[in-house]
């Protein structure tokens, strides 16, 4: 009777210590990883001289200067223009990517066609191809089309499911879904496109949301392609505008750059948290079920 409580208390204590160590390490590593991000957000509210003058995260003289001046930018356009520019090609890009990737993935996952294995292997091979290899031929091609200094080279290729990674992702997701539902829809009188629209799309919605999110974030962060194809400052997206802010003067106003970087992060963060539930389901269920 008197012996019983002792081992129990021991076990409880060991469990608690265990959890403490585990969470301590996790929180510690997490903070180290997130520190640059916190530093960036904090630095947005510091005056320029304080950024390199103090190690403290918390601003000694908090100011909105960086945000206000940064928003105005050193150019004739405000930062809003650059944000809108980004959306002007990202939205069509995301829509075209989703439509084309789902169509092509549906074809690969559900239809018999001659040489399917070969085509699929080729498509996967394009994922492995370094993007820089294609830069020069693509540039020459789009120059012939007269598309330079427009957004067309940035999103029109997406209409042809050129992002093999997304096609691959949706194919894997579809492979994990039994085709019975689609067969039931065929018996119910659907043609292939109706099956896709009424049955497949609702079922693979998590994968579709993942595709849209990835494409949105990667495109917003993309620096190289806009740099190559866009020449008018008035058409620059956020990524180029930020770089421009560093170049304009010799004494870079780092607080302005960091404040705008913080703002540039917001769309991705908002979209991510809105779709987080589906997003996580999308990347995990494709692998687990498949």
């Amino acid at each position: 009777m008197s012996l019983m409580p002792t081992p129990r208390r021991d076990i409880a204590w060991i469990g608690r210590a265990n959890a403490l160590v585990r969470y301590g390490v996790l929180i510690g590593v997490g903070l180290i990883m997130l520190y640059p991000l916190f530093w960036m957000v904090a630095a947005s509210f510091k005056p320029n001289h304080e950024i390199f003058g103090s190690v403290s995260l918390w601003p000694r003289d908090p100011t909105m200067d960086g945000v206000v001046k940064g928003w105005r930018t050193g150019t004739e356009y405000s930062f809003a223009t650059y944000l809108l520019n980004s959306f002007a090609f990202i939205i069509p890009k995301v829509v075209l990517t989703v439509v084309s990737s789902v169509l092509v993935a549906y074809g690969f996952a559900r239809f018999r066609m001659p040489g399917k294995q070969l085509w699929f292997a080729l498509m996967v091979a394009t994922i492995l191809l370094p993007k820089s290899v294609l830069l020069i031929p693509q540039y020459l091609m789009f120059r012939e089309f007269g598309w330079l200094d427009t957004y067309l080279p940035l999103y029109i290729p997406c209409a042809f499911a050129t992002d093999g990674f997304f096609v691959f992702m949706v194919v894997q997701f579809l492979r994990g879904i039994p085709p019975d539902m689609e067969e039931a829809a065929v018996i119910d009188g659907c043609n292939s496109l109706q099956v896709l629209w009424h049955v497949v799309v609702p079922v693979i919605m998590p994968a579709i949301i993942s595709v849209a999110l990835f494409q949105f974030m990667w495109s917003l962060n993309d620096f190289l392609y806009p740099l190559i194809y866009l020449s008018s400052v008035g058409k620059y997206p956020v990524a180029l505008a930020l770089k421009m802010a560093i170049d304009v003067t010799e004494a870079t106003a780092w607080n302005e750059v960091l404040a705008m970087s913080t703002i540039a992060l917001l769309p991705s963060l908002i979209v991510f948290f809105l779709a987080q539930k589906y997003f996580v389901e999308g990347i995990t269920s494709g692998s687990v079920k498949g």
Binding site: P178, M181, A184, A185, I187, G189, Q194, P202, V203
Partner: protein
């Protein structure tokens, strides 16, 4: 009146180099509930999918009603199908699931609603119409899948192992519901299963398939009483029929003497042709042995043998005894005894065999005396 008739002529299906269906001729009369049974991989599901149009045959023709539907789209064949996995649309409510086919066909909403309500009433689904499939139990989901078929008012209902995802109790209940539905609607139904009990209880006629061919077609009791060959004899009935190898010693007009291990059985026969010296197989169902007082000593149609009990399975209502009967066979024979009889392993048991209930198969596995013509008759 051929509405609801299904006619298969020389239907073949290959997947690449693999022949799954090797020429099937079958006529299903209107209003029949035909069950396809067979072991895994025998082609029963493929045959059903050929009728549904989800697969196209590589040879032969398929007719439903008066129309040749060999190459017709599944939705225009006048069929509806229930899948093993239910295959409900997870994002639609029960009502939307049931009315989806009509919606695609472009029917007005009011008509769809009315038909769905009518089908829901038949299946007692009315209170569930607004639910999503994930909020339903397995049995309810299967009823929705059946409701989706009823709404389409098909000539032929196709069931692809519809009960194998349900637990045993629910399976029994749904089996009764399907039988009741068949009686109510009077529609032609084709039902695929590997479960003998489902086949025996539901079927008007059973089609036994093996390796892409029809082994036998017949009413359930007919298959049980007169299996056309060793395969059907072993497949229908549970536990399976005991088989013993023997040699014909003498053939009389009304009996065949078959020499088994150490005993000779005088099996009565009505027709068929066996020659002395021919290798044969004698089949006895476990339930056709007689034990103890049940053996009628004065019956010259019954013979008794000594056996040693090897294993006993007590199921409560019946007892399965695995016996060694050296005079009949080298292997172990299973005997089904009704009731719970205390039997001890290793002890002896005297077992009687009613000769009239023995089956005799020739060296090719065909039943001696059974009308083999029955299998071929359908082709005509």
């Amino acid at each position: 009146m051929t509405k609801g008739r299904v006619l298969l002529r020389g239907v073949m299906k290959s997947f690449g180099a693999v022949d799954v269906i090797k020429g099937v001729d079958l006529e299903i009369a209107p209003g029949e509930l035909t069950v396809f049974v067979g072991p895994s991989g025998c082609g029963k599901s493929t045959l059903l999918r050929l009728v549904s149009g989800l697969e196209l045959p590589t040879g032969g023709s398929i007719m439903i009603g008066d129309r040749d539907v060999t190459c017709v789209h599944p939705s225009e064949r006048g069929i509806a199908m229930v899948f093993q996995s239910y295959a409900l649309y997870p994002h639609m409510s029960v009502a939307e699931n049931m009315g989806f086919g009509l919606k695609i066909a472009g029917l007005p909403k009011a008509v769809i609603k009315e038909k769905v309500a009518k089908a829901a009433e038949i299946l007692q689904l009315t209170p569930l119409l607004d639910r999503k499939p994930r909020a339903l139990s397995g049995g309810q989901r299967q009823r929705v899948a059946i409701g989706r078929c009823i709404v389409r008012e098909p000539e032929v209902f196709l069931f692809d192992e519809p009960l194998s995802n349900l637990d045993a109790a629910l399976r029994g209940q749904m089996r009764v519901e399907i039988a009741r539905l068949h009686a109510k609607l009077g529609a032609t139904m084709i039902y695929v299963t590997h479960d003998q009990v489902e086949a025996m209880t539901l079927a008007t006629r059973i089609v036994v398939l093996n390796a892409g061919r029809i082994e036998q077609i017949g009413a359930p009791i007919e298959l049980y009483r007169h299996p056309a060959n060793l395969f059907v004899a072993g497949f229908i009935g549970s536990p399976r029929m005991n088989f013993m190898d023997g040699i014909v010693e003498a053939a009389e007009a009304d009996a065949v003497h078959v020499r088994l291990n150490a005993a000779t059985l005088r099996l009565p026969r009505h027709e068929g042709d066996v020659k002395p010296g021919a290798k044969v197989t004698v089949g006895i169902r476990p339930e056709h042995f007689r034990v103890g007082s049940a053996v009628d000593a004065g019956d010259d149609q019954a013979v008794e043998f000594d056996s040693v009990i090897d294993l006993v399975e007590r199921l409560g209502g019946e007892t399965l005894a695995h016996l060694r009967m050296p005079s009949l066979s080298d292997g172990v024979l299973v005997v089904k005894i009704s009731g719970d009889i205390p039997l001890r392993i290793g002890t002896g048991l005297r077992v009687g065999v009613r000769l009239a209930q023995c089956h005799l198969f020739d060296a090719d596995g065909r039943a001696v005396g059974a009308s083999a013509a029955r299998v071929a008759a359908v082709a005509a």
